[in-house]
Amino acid sequence: MAILVYIEQASGKIKKTSLEAVSYAFALAQKTGEGAVIALALGTVEEQELAAVGEAGASKVLHSTDERLNAGVIQAHATAVAQAFHAVGASTLILAKSSLGDAVAARLAIKLEAGLVSNVVELPRLESGFMVKRSIYTGKAFADTTMTTPKKILAIKKNAVAQKVDGAKAPVEVFDLTLPDTDFASKITATERTIGEVLLPEADVVVSGGRGMKGPENWGMIEDLAQTLGAATGCSKPVSDIGWRPHHEHVGQTGVKVAPTLYIAIGISGAIQHLAGVNSSKCIVVINKDPEAPFFKAADYGIVGDAFEIVPQLTAALKAAQ
């Protein structure tokens, strides 16, 4: 039985979290003794991008070049994945957790009559049944979940496994789909995307600012620091509520959940709702002028002091060390 991996792309570039999903599938196949790891890419994707899929652990890449799939049309993507699942005789579908991934996975769970677990944080344990560990209560706890269906779908949280980079080059096959027009009944009328930025949910380093930054005019130093680190920028909820920063940068329980290697929080108090969005970070650095700020309790490193002095110094020190 094969494992199918649903690959997400944006503007022809494959998402890093999807490559992680491929590596997860590779490790799973080794563990269960299952056969091939087959990746499915939809829409226009650059050739060298497809090569990375093999390096991440896929033994074959199926590519449907239908341009209508460039956008994340949920129904059409679900139909496409279901067709591939049947075509390759898959038992398991692996995908990266994301807003599109979730929506597609949910519909597939019904289409394929497959069990679905989201927010999976590590490889399953197989001693007694098929047991997956998933993150619940917005990262405040974990649940061991037993999957009882023969077909399974796992939506993987970022950093569940390390991305493999030493796999063999995988052959790419064109995969022909028959997509009903009804799948495209909803029309995407416009897309607004901030180009060139590191995507927040995918980022390995995140620099976030809170209300302590005083106003949007002071974000230049946050952006300088982020740029030096190749980081994405985030913010606390009030900051996006007042409109200092765009909504998609809001991190926390009711915003984006990030899982970077390094999270730097500047002028953020560390309310429990904010922490819920960052508690999967590997290392947390807090810069706050208040030594009593709750964020220090969740931090690995901290500096007590004025962000307006410290942040430019930090940027300079990082540049000096590069």
Binding site: D102, A109, A143, S186, H247, L314, A317
Partner: protein, 245 residues
């Protein structure tokens, strides 16, 4: 227009999470339960749409009797009636089957949910119900306007947003800034007591992925503070000690 809003009954966002019975059960001691924050956005938008277009607004929860105060709160905020499907929500598949079963009979034009529940955070139930009913589902939706049978939406995508047009009936998983949370007023609270809250028994649907035991994350060590005049020291630590640079 007939609107259905599906709401969860979840621990307040400031709750500390604990488990009992050898880590096999959630411990509700000292926990305050609320309408899920995303469901609260869905409900607020649903109230506005019902007020604009007329019709009816039903609030639905799959849960045991202790969720009734949460449903009453939804009535106080503006739902016309409520349905409780009397079962512990065992997994998202089970919940979706229950909701789809009731929704099919109700013949709703628009079903609003939260983008995700904040207990299991699956973000799955809307898609499953959509597929079960054979209608489209969209999430996370941050803007939703209804003009006749056309629905204009903005959906958040990573790093931006997407504007969409679709036809009723459909399902949307909502998030801010679709509407502002509504706080029940005195009249709402009074009228909520007499609005209908119907309890229906669950259909016998299977589960697929039930949780068997729970764990808390390992405790965090204490923070290492760096003096504000030694910023370069932080860079050194991140590079050589934490090895994250």
């Amino acid at each position: 227009m007939k609107i259905l809003v599906c709401i969860t009954h979840v621990p307040d966002t400031t709750s500390k999470i604990h488990f009992t019975d050898n880590n096999s059960k959630f411990d509700p001691t000292g926990v305050q339960f609320i309408i899920g924050p995303y469901d609260d956005y869905a409900l607020a938008r649903a109230v506005e749409l019902r007020d604009q277009t007329g019709g009816s607004l039903t609030a639905l929860n799959v849960g045991e009797v202790e969720t009734e105060p949460t449903l009453r709160k939804a009535l106080a905020i503006g739902a016309d009636d409520a349905i409780r499907i009397n079962s512990f929500p065992k997994d998202s598949f089970f919940v979706a089957k229950q909701i789809a079963h009731v929704a099919k009979e109700g013949g709703y034009d628009l079903i609003l949910m939260g983008r995700e529940s904040i207990d299991f955070n699956g973000g799955m139930v809307h898609g499953m119900v959509g597929e079960l009913l054979g209608i489209p589902s969209f999430s996370p939706v941050m803007k939703l306007e209804v003009e006749g049978t056309t629905v204009k939406m903005a959906r958040e995508i990573e790093g931006g947003k997407e504007h969409l047009e679709a036809q009723l009936p459909l399902i949307a998983g909502c998030q801010e800034p679709i509407a502002e949370w509504k706080i029940p007023n005195m009249r709402g609270i009074m009228s909520a007591r007499t609005k209908p809250l119907v309890v229906v028994e669950p259909g016998s649907f299977a589960t697929q992925a039930e949780a068997s035991s729970y764990q808390l994350p390992p405790a965090k060590g204490t923070v290492k503070l760096v003096d504000k005049d030694q910023v370069a020291e932080l860079v050194h630590l991140l590079k050589n000690e934490a090895k994250v640079l």
